[in-house]
């Protein structure tokens, strides 16, 4: 059957038949690099148009509809426009840090692609501490935001960056604790093993109510971590013009924008992997016939379907909840989410030891 892992294997076989081992590795690296870059660019384009179309749909208006069929090439046109804009560096700015920040944002977003399983047996690096890697690398993102805000020599930027710093580090805790709930159940940090443990049902269904609480906490925490509304204090348009990237223009702004959207994709992919079974099709216990029908749908469609469902959910939040104030935001995390997710972790541990999941 047609699948990503078959393509990867046949490329690997063809290369090792025609070249010596060193060249095979080098060519494979180049192919992987080009593939990841194209995926990156494609994701950026798709997510931006999706965001605008979803917003339009929520507000009962048309949204972009001039460029291409139903406005589908709008984000491509926007990219071209940004390409011919001058990338200004303000006079009083710290030039080195100012130019370094978008690179760090991009590197972080790119590195997070490594442990994600896009389809069955199709993963860049199935490292044995995959989940820890994700939570470790994603916290570097805050450094690029602080760097951008500090180096801009702009009060709005600095304020946005400080808010964002306080917010991201706070919500990292409950995101981490809700990830740990899944790790306790599986007993492994490896992404492929976590997916394999959901063969007979996804954790959100298998784990009863505590797992559902963990999922909800995770979604709230990652919405805050990616600086999306209702937690978009870092770039609150109506208060701080554009927050930490007020001074960025042209391609450097586009890189921040891209990294932000790809981060949304990545956290949703992690959420889909941990709680909704990644590429694993929807299986119900012993219904063999039903399970067979579900297996016919390719694994990549399952993965992208779940991920885009979560992305849609996060876009939905934006048009449902008003923005929080900074003290409300920190209260929500420290007084509610953190104690809830700590107690929830204890309950999940007791459940895992008693075996109260099926």
């Amino acid at each position: 059957m047609w699948s990503f892992s078959n393509i990867a294997n046949s490329i690997h076989e063809w290369l090792s038949n025609n070249f010596n081992p060193t060249w095979t590795i080098i060519i494979e690296m180049v192919i992987a690099g080009v593939a990841v870059i194209s995926l990156f660019a494609l994701l950026g384009l798709v997510l931006v148009i999706m965001e605008r179309k979803v917003s339009a749909w929520m507000q009962i208006r048309l949204g972009p509809n001039r460029v291409g069929p139903k406005g589908m090439f709008q984000s491509l046109a926007d990219t071209l426009k940004l390409l011919v804009k001058e990338g200004l560096t303000p006079g009083g700015a710290d030039k080195f840090l100012f130019n370094l920040a978008p690179f760090i944002a991009m590197i972080v977003a790119m590195l997070l692609m490594a442990p994600i399983a896009f389809a069955k047996d199709f993963q860049l690096w199935d490292l044995n501490i995959g989940v820890l890697f994700v939570s470790a690398v994603s916290s570097i993102m805050v450094i690029s935001i602080l760097m951008a805000g500090w180096a801009s020599n702009n009060k709005y930027s600095l304020m946005g960056a400080m808010r964002s710093g306080a917010q991201i580090v706070s919500y990292e805790l409950s995101a981490g604790l809700s990830i740990l709930a899944v790790v306790v159940m599986t007993g492994s940090l490896q992404v492929s093993e976590i997916i394999e443990s959901q063969r007979n049902g996804w954790w959100i269904f298998k784990g009863h109510l505590p797992m559902l609480i963990a999922f909800v906490t995770f979604i709230i925490a990652v919405t805050a971590e990616t600086n999306r509304a209702p937690f978009d204090l870092a770039e609150a348009e109506s208060e701080l013009t554009a927050g930490f990237h007020t001074e960025y223009s042209g391609m450097k702004f586009a890189l921040f924008f891209l990294a932000e959207y790809v981060n949304v994709f990545i956290v949703c992919a992690i959420g889909a992997t941990l709680f909704l079974g990644g590429w694993m099709p929807f299986h119900i216990g012993k219904w063999e016939g039903f399970n067979h029908v579900m297996d016919y749908i390719p694994s990549s469609i399952w993965f992208f379907g779940k991920t885009f469902f979560l992305i849609f959910l996060i876009m939905w939040f934006r048009w449902t909840f008003p923005r929080l104030r900074i003290d409300q935001l920190l209260n929500l995390e420290w007084k509610y989410l953190l104690p809830i997710s700590m107690i929830n972790l204890l309950i999940v541990t007791a459940m895992a030891i008693l075996g109260w999941h099926f």
């Binding site: 690296m29 790119m110 600095l158 400080m162 580090v169 586009a254 209260n331 541990t349 007791a350 030891i353």
Partner: protein, 116 residues
């Protein structure tokens, strides 16, 4: 692909951003203007220095975060073996959380979690 994928990804990220910025630099001719270099603060001339003192609240939260983040790092190896160890793992983590929670309550009593 193994660990080499990290190198590939870092190089890909730098190449992608570098090429994008370089292309945009080649495409256009920069113009000079005295007001271009000024910080954008809604068109109003900027007042005073930017790099100045900020609310202490941000730093307090960062400090409390540090405690809990270290706790989280300790929890990762525990979580992997918790299921196999049985009840002793739960008892240990309850004691651990209790000590941590005392510190949290102390910070709360001292008003570190209140936004000023």
């Amino acid at each position: 692909m193994g660990a080499s994928s990290l190198i590939v990804l870092i190089i890909a990220a730098i190449a992608f951003s570098g090429i994008a910025i370089l292309v945009s630099k080649l495409v256009l001719k920069p113009t000079t203007n005295k007001q271009k270099g000024e910080p954008y603060e809604c068109g109003i001339p900027t007042q005073g220095k930017t790099w100045t003192q900020l609310n202490v609240g941000y730093y307090l939260f960062a400090l409390i975060f540090l405690i809990f983040d270290v706790e989280l790092v300790f929890l990762f190896p525990w979580a992997v073996v918790a299921k196999g160890m049985g009840w002793i793992a739960l008892v240990e983590i309850v004691i651990f959380f209790f000590i941590l929670f005392m510190g949290f309550l102390y910070a709360h009593k001292k008003g570190a979690l209140k936004w000023m």
